[in-house]
Amino acid sequence: MFPDWRARWLAETLRLHEADEGRQDDARAVAVARTHPGDAEARICVRAREMASTGTWASAVDAAGVRARFAMGVLLVVGLVLGFGSAMAVLGDGGRPVNVVWALGGLLGVHMISLAVWGAGLLIRPTETGSVFGRAWLWLAERMSARGPQVHAWHALFSLHRGQALLRWWLGGVAHALWLALLCGAVIGLLVAFSLRGYGFVWETTILPAAVFEAWVGALGALPALVGVPIPDGEVVRASGGVALVDAEARRAWSAWLLGCVVAYGVLPRALLAVWCFTLLRSGRRRIRLDQGQPGYASLLERLTPASERIGVTDVAPETIATAHLGGLASLAAGAPVLVGVELNGEAPAEGQARAMEWPPTVPDEVHFAGALDTREQRRLFLAALSRAQPVRLLVACDPRLSPDRGTLSLIADLSRHAGECRVWLVAAATATDTERLGYWRDGLRELGLPPGAVFESMPEALEWLAGTPAEGRRHA
């Protein structure tokens, strides 16, 4: 199933590669990845796969795999040889009898200690990666890689495994495999030596009673005995104290016991642990996910998985939008001038104080103040009253902090039809912080048919016009 862990390895390698070399040209790869139906991670992998088909770095991933196996092979061979050699060294040339205690200790001692350390590490620091052999392999494999892409492939492998805490199984498995080679080498060495040389077996002591060795040999031999490996009986063990027996049967029993112990306590546990580690590694690799929080991926996500796509316009804009126009009775109107506010009821806290000084205003006696209009009912009643009164001048006060809309403008147009002349006063315009909206009011009113001169932005001017007193005269009075 795509993406498998190899695909992720490729992607991770590319990420490290790009972190070093800069973003590669990926226009085509991104285009392909975006058509992939999967999630972000799958698309990252597709992008890497597509780019691998053109870039040279991709072969590094395969090369790294090959080299890893090669390094492993080298170490396995070295292990076999070393194991063989250690068996030879432990047994000697046959000139002297073999001390079984020292021989077993020499063959299994270090192995047992390292196994105990590994096991303890597993319990104490479950996430740390231990194992000297595993690290030796990594070191070797990395040194064998060419600089650049192959190192990236290595580091990629590393960071992927670290993310799932798989490094320990990985390195552990390698370590167990190497120990296995070493111990197999030892077994081969033992077999060869036992086949071609004659050895006598002894145990030695200064203070311990013979019974200790008898029990010890019996206990260690119990496990190999389960599969029929002969063990030296009590008689033979007792007789082997200090002087080697010449009896061929006894020698065969001792050599079988030695071999059986190395296999049962060396080869077998290492083989089982290696299988266990590699099984866990294999199943763990299925859980490997790319860390999308890495900067290299996070900056890709926008392009690979866009949050949205445009549908386009589904209902086109009308060519023209009906706008209202001012009308008027001109000279026919004779009623008293009227001041009315539009949508000035709702009190916005913003700039409220400044506005409160201007609205509601104190109007001259001759002016009729109609309050402010908000609801439909108010509008309807006022329009009816207006059509009866027919004022000479109508001043409509608006709140310039609101957005001018068609509804308000057409109301002004409706009102203007019942008056001799209609002008608009933008209340507290001077204190409005949103000068843009003020501009939109001016524009809207101009479209309505109100020239700039007919739009007041200060209270005195507006009220003077409404009262009909010439500005000069009022000022002197």
């Binding site: 890495q294 913003a350 957005s403 068609r406």
Partner: protein, 473 residues
């Protein structure tokens, strides 16, 4: 057998009075800064335009931007005047259908008809409100008209971050109209969890699409987390790089040392700029973005200040060696006034004065005395300053640079650990690993460096969280 889950994407219309920020909301939800046309001019959008929201390659939501309602009073009157003969009473949707088929829907009310048609075809509507506006009769009429479409409406309170709003009045008015699920969502500078609240509220109105909306939410949350982690990692890498950076210099001749100091300063500045660029790319900030100037980096002066003692003094950071007081005399630097600009004053003698103190003699004195070589490294104080500055930038970026982030001095309490005491352990470790530094080209990428990076990133994430909590309080 459980009901089969809905596979079609949920259709949502964005409606509202003219000039309340419908297209801005579209842009924020689609992450598409080029969607439609946005201006403060009323009735900018006159058509219906859609966008699909995608999560993990799956289309989950279809959003439609509609023109603003402009004449709701007359429209309601028009609707109420529809009284066909022989029918006792029309319900809302029937009334709307009749209206949409009438000639008025193609003439005076063409814009409003588009809105109603789209809303009728949608599963829900987001009713965008500019809470700076007072609640007027026309708004109530508008909601009545929209309510006739018999589609769940979720009021979205926009511009809630404005200094003075009518939010409580709007809430009261909306609840009187039976709209109790309301969401605050500043379309230009949404709160961190704003989008989550919006979709969650929407899910309460649209139970059938809850799985879709939850999937979308989960995906967006995952993306945000990834981005945040990436940002923190970028900053951590910068700090590791700079902490590990060392330059060898022959101790003979002051001129040579001075030249090295200048070189080191330049390199560190370049490295920081690299980090800033990466952060900007990560958060998709382009210099052309309207809100780019809201960030705490105005221009080159951001760089100049790094080695300026005054910048550090203002944050209460002291140089590791030597007090900064002496050098600070000539450098009256106006650091990020109001969190917007950097240094209106020029950084006089930042290099000559601060630069000398900013780097200190480091490392192997014994070896140095033998070979005549010394090593220069970046001072602790500079590292601290870098950390605080980048954290500040990061928080500003996460809120798209808007409003709520206080100037860098305001961070003092949240970043105390960067001001006092020892440097964090990963940085101290980096000091001893010259090969970890990527300031001069490539860093040796290894297990240890990676671990230090992760640890430092975790630390920085905690700091960023603390800053954010303090900002939202």
């Amino acid at each position: 057998m459980p009901e089969k889950t809905v596979v079609r994407p949920v259709r949502i219309a964005v409606v509202g009075h003219t000039n309340t920020g419908k297209t801005s909301l579209m842009r924020t939800l689609t992450r598409d800064t080029g969607f439609g046309e946005v201006s403060s001019r009323p009735s900018t959008t006159r058509h219906v335009e859609g966008a699909r929201l995608i999560a993990d390659g799956e289309v989950l939501v279809e959003l439609f931007d509609t023109p603003g309602m402009e004449d709701p009073m007359a429209l309601l009157e028009e609707l109420e005047s529809i009284r066909p003969e022989g029918v006792d009473r029309l319900d809302g949707p029937a009334r709307v259908e009749r209206f949409l088929n009438a000639p008025a829907a193609r003439a005076r009310f063409e814009q409003e008809a588009k809105v109603l048609r789209q809303l009728r075809a949608s599963d829900a509507g987001l009713y965008v409100i500019d809470v700076r506006d007072p609640v007027l009769a026309k708004h109530r009429d508008e909601l009545e008209v929209l309510g006739d479409c018999a589609v769940p409406l979720l009021p979205v309170l926009n511009f809630v971050r404005a200094p003075q709003t009518n939010e409580s009045r709007w809430r009261e008015a909306l609840s009187r109209l039976g709209l109790h699920a309301i969401v605050r969502f500043d379309t230009v500078a949404p709160e961190r969890d704003g989008e989550r609240w919006l979709y969650e509220k929407l899910a309460t109105l649209l139970d059938a699409w809850r799985p879709s909306l939850e999937k979308l939410l989960a995906c967006r949350a995952r993306e945000a987390d990834a981005r945040h982690r990436a940002a923190v990692l970028l900053v951590a890498e910068l700090l590791i790089d700079v902490a590990a950076y060392r330059v060898r210099v022959m101790a003979t001749g002051a001129g040579a040392v001075e030249a090295k100091v200048i070189e080191l300063n330049t390199r560190v500045r370049e490295r920081e700029q690299h980090c800033v660029d990466a952060l900007l790319e990560l958060y998709r900030f382009r210099s052309t973005d309207v809100d780019a100037d809201q960030l705490p980096l105005a221009n080159g002066e951001w760089q100049e200040d790094l080695f300026n003692p005054e910048s550090l003094r203002q944050l209460g950071i002291r140089f590791g060696t030597g007090a900064a007081a002496g050098a600070a005399a000539g450098a009256g630097v106006d650091l990020m006034v109001g969190g917007l600009t950097f240094g209106t004053a020029t950084a006089i003698g930042a290099l000559a004065g601060g630069g000398w103190q900013a780097v200190r003699q480091f490392g192997d004195r014994v070896l140095g005395s033998v070979t005549g070589q010394r090593q220069l490294a970046v001072d602790d104080g500079i590292l601290r300053f870098l950390a605080v500055r980048q954290l500040h930038l990061l928080c500003a970026l996460e809120t798209r640079g808007h409003g709520a982030i206080s100037p860098i001095h305001g961070l003092v309490d949240q970043v105390r650990q960067w001001r006092e005491g020892a440097l964090p352990a990963p940085l101290r470790k980096a000091r001893a690993h010259r090969e970890w530094s990527g300031v001069d080209g490539k860093a040796a990428d290894g297990l240890e460096r990676n671990r230090a990076l992760e640890q430092l990133a975790e630390l920085l994430a905690t700091d960023a969280e603390a800053i954010r909590r303090a900002e939202t309080r």
